[in-house]
Symmetry: C2
Subunit: 132 residues, 2 copies
DNA sequence: TAACAGTATGTAATAATATAACATTTATAA
DNA sequence: TTATAAATGTTATATTATTACATACTGTTA
């Protein structure tokens, strides 16, 4: 059973915007879009983003400085994430592949490090862009 | 046989600095360190960094906005990278694990995407920090 | 060697991304 | 209800990265 996180007002406004956009959004683009709802300052956006990332409702696409709604219903926290990114159209999807996530979650090497989290970004051309 | 890239003056200065540091360095920290060598502007640093990344001499740690010298002698381009990052001491190492790289380089799914590149970042606690 | 193309450099200005500091308010739970 | 944590509002500023434009160097090849 997934813990219900009651989003605060700003968190809800920002999550809904990202979720509805269907793709990654950048912080200042979010800011621009929510100004009519009373959110005026970058920090208000970043605070909501931080919290949403923390509880796994969104993920940060590190290579793009952008945020995307979690597309994996079972994802409670952002501790094991994988994305595919089209370098042509910049389309981003979250990869839900249990073999991949199992492989990476169980990965360990001789470094003595205890891994508790990973983020993987694949780059390439999506179906559409490939055929252009 | 690895192609010899003759680094330009700025590229060499900046690569040597990062390489000698033994860890990840941020762009403006690099800038500060090379000002005595005549490199005065951010753009000079970023241009060298871009080129060094392109030819695989350094990699960008996306989650940290930092750059690290390639620790894998066979790495000619930054197209298949994996790092382990200690969230306590911020130590970063490049992971050279042929099983892992084989697994990821051959990864494909039903999305129709053709993957040509990936970057993986593992997070956790290193040996030292674990035992504190 | 002259002309060309490609790469690299120098410099100033500015854009884009993110956080610090401080005051106040709202929600949660003991 | 009172204490605590979480969230908000606001201003200022720090950090990361790029645009635009002028100049110089390097390696080809005619």
């Amino acid at each position: 059973m997934q813990k219900e996180h009651n989003l605060s007002k700003n968190q809800k406004i920002i999550f809904d915007l990202i979720d509805k956009s269907g793709g990654p959004m950048k912080a200042y683009s979010i800011l621009f879009n929510v100004q009519k709802k009373g959110i005026k300052a970058p920090l208000q956006v970043y605070r909501a983003l931080d919290k949403l990332v923390e509880i796994g409702k969104i993920h940060k696409i590190e290579s793009r400085n952008a945020f995307i709604a979690c597309q994996n219903s079972s994802c409670q926290v952002s501790k094991a994430t994988a994305f595919s990114i089209c370098e042509s159209c910049e389309n981003v999807s979250e990869i839900s592949n249990s073999k991949l996530s199992k492989y990476l979650s169980n990965f360990s090497d001789s470094s003595g490090m205890k891994y508790s989290k990973y983020n993987l970004e694949f780059f390439g051309l999506c179906k559409k862009c490939k055929s252009k």
